[in-house]
């Protein structure tokens, strides 16, 4: 592995604060050599190889060091380059952060490299081992320099949950689509998860129409979901209507017991009727409780039987999308999400359904720092899901609004372009393995570029998401294209 030929980039220099265990500065051998910010490099020192990440690149030229002089010369309507051989004075100094050293294994750098040490472009096999990548794992994209596929161990990536965070339009959903493709492509021998998507805007429904993935996809429109009232408990009803008081809860519990005893099928209508006819429940309690139950009834989600039947819905290597785009009310979306998450988690705990990955788009709406009815179950899955192979993928464009509990339980963070300073600060606090120098790079990421930190990789890695092979989402259309499609449909 270490015998692979390397490209010499330059030499480590001494500055007031480097080389140290935290920082290395090096000058490029020639200003024609191209080094990129975020690139991995190797430094040979004392028969060891130190791996580092380029954090900044600065070009210098003595002729242009004095701004007022440059201005005076340029005012003579001649560029400095035509008067002096300025190109001969270019040199490039790069700063890098040491990540560790390779001996028999990867170790933290405990002693700095020496000034004068040669600096090389990192080799792919070295980097693969250093980062903890797997050869036939989940292939999300490529590190740009060196060109290396980001192939991730599924267990490291997903078992301890993953959060994907970026501003609108940075490519989160595109990246998730790539992740879904990778999960659907896996064979039985490789180990396949079932994939469930809570899709508030219908971004992933295009999988259903895809030539390859269509057969592996089932989409359930939110308005068709039915919650089986007989399968709920009074506590679960209260989860959907948190205003139900303790007194009302006790009353409801009693009604439930009676209805179960009767052996007849029942829904909210029957519960409400039972409450009405009950002589044991005080009138004030009745009125309040009925009012709350009527609220639930109006959602039209509650019925006698469950639809779809979640006991038999999930299949390894297939994806189930709950398309909530037709539902406008946030409360209703949360209600459905609560039900689906709780049911799936319970079934998984009893091993009645296969291990799954639960992907929640716009996670800050379902599991906010504030209150939401589905927050509790999502946090529960976040805390306990690992043990039962129920993996969570939270997607959000406002990480600061996402529940800190849930986010902190996501051991892998995939971060794309983030600009909001509050979000950046929040990521700094909640993302393990991300330091200030990596944080500074986040606002400058291009669409489709991401940094992966946490359990999935040994060190934060910047990469470009691969091209999606599945049918694009309708949201990937431009505004003009969407307008054209609409009119063509009408015609």
């Amino acid at each position: 592995m270490l015998g692979t030929q390397r490209t010499l980039l330059g030499t480590v220099i001494a500055t007031p604060d480097s080389p140290s265990t935290q920082k290395i500065d090096f000058v490029l051998s020639s200003d024609k050599i191209r080094v990129m910010k975020g690139e991995f490099i190797e430094i040979e020192f004392d028969q060891r190889t130190v791996l580092a990440l380029v954090t900044e690149i600065q070009k210098m030229n003595a002729y242009f060091a004095s701004a007022d002089s440059v201005k005076v010369y340029e005012e003579a309507a001649r560029s400095l380059q035509s008067i002096f051989p300025t190109d001969e004075w270019n040199y490039v100094v790069c700063s890098a952060r040491p990540l560790g050293e390779l001996q028999d294994q990867v170790r933290r750098l405990s002693f700095p490299v020496s000034p004068g040490s040669p600096v090389y472009r990192s080799r792919s096999p070295v980097l693969r081992e250093f980062l903890g990548l797997k050869k036939d794992g989940i292939q999300l994209g490529r590190i740009i320099q060196p060109s290396l596929e980001i192939s991730l161990d599924p267990t490291r990536l997903l078992q301890k949950h993953i959060a994907i965070m970026a501003i609108s339009g940075a490519g989160k959903s595109y990246t998730v689509a790539v992740l879904i493709e990778e999960l659907l492509k896996r064979s039985q021998d490789q180990g396949r998860l079932a994939v469930v998507v809570i899709d508030p805007h219908g971004e992933y429904s295009s999988f259903e129409e895809d030539d390859i993935y269509g057969s592996m996809t089932e989409v359930t429109r939110g308005s068709f979901v039915q919650i089986a009232v007989p399968q709920l408990s009074a506590y679960q009803i209260r989860e959907y209507a948190p205003d139900i008081t303790e007194v009302q809860l006790r009353a409801l519990e009693q009604i439930y017991k009676n209805l179960w005893k009767s052996g007849k099928a029942f829904s909210l209508k029957e519960i409400i009727s039972s409450i009405n006819h009950s002589e044991e429940i005080k009138q004030t309690t009745k009125d309040s409780l009925i009012s709350r139950l009527l609220g639930l009834e109006r959602t039209t989600f509650f019925g006698y039987e469950e639809n779809p039947n979640l006991d038999h819905l999930l299949t390894p290597g297939k994806i189930n999308i709950f398309d909530l785009s037709e539902i406008i009310s946030s409360y209703k979306k949360q209600l459905l999400t609560t039900y689906i998450c709780r049911r799936l988690f319970e079934l998984r705990r009893k091993q009645k359904i296969p291990p799954f990955l639960l992907i929640i788009e716009e996670a800050h709406q379902f599991c906010p720092e504030g209150t939401a009815i589905c927050k509790s179950i999502i946090e529960t899955i976040a805390r306990e899901g690992r043990k039962f192979f129920a993996a969570l993928c939270l997607i959000s464009q406002r990480p600061v609004r996402l529940s800190t509990t849930a986010l902190s339980q996501c051991n892998t963070h995939l971060i794309m372009r983030i600009r909001n300073p509050n979000d950046l600060d929040h990521i700094a606090v909640t993302s393990e393995g991300i330091d200030r120098s990596t944080l500074r790079l986040l606002p400058d990421l291009e669409i489709g570029e991401a940094v992966l930190v946490g359990n999935a990789v040994n060190y934060p890695v910047f990469f470009r998401v691969r091209t999606r092979t599945s049918r694009p989402s309708k949201f990937e259309l431009s505004l003009e294209e969407a307008a054209r499609v609409y009119e063509q449909k009408g015609a």
């Binding site: 002089s69 005076v72 003579a76 001649r78 380059q81 035509s82 008067i83 051989p85």
Partner: protein
């Protein structure tokens, strides 16, 4: 010499004068001197055209030209190859030894239509340092003299080797510093054997260099950035009385005193318009070259390249009859002017700027070498002077 009292006296005691007041007094003196020089320069402007008789009369001293100054027609640099040569030097007197580091470089620039076409460096972009250490106890100033000779020698050696090696013709070489200083350095070298040895080598190299340049038809210009001469004014001091009555306003000022108390550069700053050169003078006693063994005479003129900078003084060596010297001066000026005019307040030819930058020796380089020597030599070895090795950083 100006002496400004630090305290003004008033009746009953002395009152300290503020720094601002003292500086204002000094500024007044400087302004007055400047005004007087300007007045003289304005008068001399009127003398333009009256030089014909003078040049005939003093033909051993000045070239046959009819003017105090004339316009320079700038050359088109396209196709020209110009070389700038400069050297760097650090000299230190240590306890235990004297040391010097020198380096010299020639920057060869070929110009195209849009400016620089190609730039090359001789012997390389970062030439090797030449290091010399003397444990011999030299008398005060001898080592400095030696250092100067060695640096100059290295510059000349570099220029000579460039001409010997270069496949392509170099049209003009611009040397940094005065040719006269080169000659003085080896003529006035002391009795010290080491110094004399290097002085002889310098003289020999200079001769070879001048001869080779002449063979190859390469012009050499010696460019002095901060001239301190007063030769032009001394000459004018001798010759102006005969013209005074024809120069309006000259007799209204004490021109003799101004000429005596000024330097050439101070008068020419006011006298020379932008893009003009002065008349050409021969250096040394009339009719006697500075170095008879060189078979060449040295001439000099001033050239105004920037509106807010003092004129440059240029020296040139010419072995033949004085008749062609003004033409040579024009050629040299026509190339140096376009190379030096880009900064309104700093006029140095661009190849010299580049060569100076490349030749500079940083204190860090010197410290590294001395540090190695100190660590590897036995005590007492060599020591930096106490004033430079205080353990305290004030």
């Amino acid at each position: 010499m100006i002496e400004i009292p630090l305290q003004s006296r008033s009746i009953g005691g002395s009152t300290p004068r503020s720094l601002t007041q003292q500086l204002e007094d000094i500024a007044k003196v400087i302004r007055k001197a400047g005004l007087e020089r300007k007045k003289l320069a304005d008068c001399l402007t009127k003398a333009n055209g009256l030089f014909n008789d003078l040049s005939l009369h003093y033909k051993d001293k000045i070239c046959e030209e009819e003017f105090v100054y004339q316009e320079v027609i700038q050359s088109d640099l396209n196709g020209l190859t110009v070389c700038g040569v400069d050297g760097g030097l650090i000299v230190k007197s240590l306890l235990g030894a004297d040391v010097l580091l020198t380096r010299a470089i020639a920057v060869v620039i070929t110009y195209g239509r849009k400016g620089i076409f190609k730039a090359t460096y001789f012997p390389s972009k970062l030439p090797e340092l030449k290091f010399m250490l003397s444990t011999e106890a030299m008398r005060g100033g001898e080592f400095d003299t030696l250092a100067g000779i060695m640096r100059t020698h290295q510059e000349l050696e570099t220029a000579y080797r460039l001409l010997s090696a270069e496949d392509k013709h170099v049209d003009i070489i611009i040397m940094d510093g005065a040719l006269r200083s080169v000659i003085n350095s080896y003529q006035r070298s002391s009795g010290n054997q080491e110094v004399q040895k290097h002085a002889a080598a310098l003289q020999n190299t200079l001769q070879k260099f001048l001869n080779l340049a002449d063979e190859q038809d390469t012009l050499i210009a010696w460019c002095i950035k901060d001239s301190k001469t007063s030769e032009f004014l001394t000459f004018l001091g001798r010759t102006l009385p005969s013209l005074a009555s024809n120069i309006s306003g000259l007799l209204d000022i004490d021109y003799r005193k101004i000429l005596k108390t000024s330097r050439d550069i101070e008068i020419f700053y006011f006298l020379l318009p932008l893009g003009y050169r002065s008349f050409v003078m021969q250096l040394g006693e009339e009719g006697r070259p500075l170095d008879p063994t060189l078979d060449t005479s040295i001439y000099t003129f001033f050239l105004r390249c920037a509106p807010y900078d003092a004129p440059l003084r240029i020296e040139l060596a010419y072995p033949q009859s004085k008749k062609h010297v003004p033409n040579i001066a024009n050629k040299i000026a026509s190339v140096i002017l376009p190379l030096s005019q880009f900064h309104a307040g700093y006029s140095v030819p661009a190849p010299i700027v580049e060569a100076d930058g490349r030749a500079r020796i940083r204190n860090e380089e010197f410290s590294t070498i001395i540090g190695i020597l100190q660590r590897r030599s036995l005590q007492p070895g060599i020591w930096m002077q106490r004033r430079e090795r205080s353990p305290f950083k004030f």
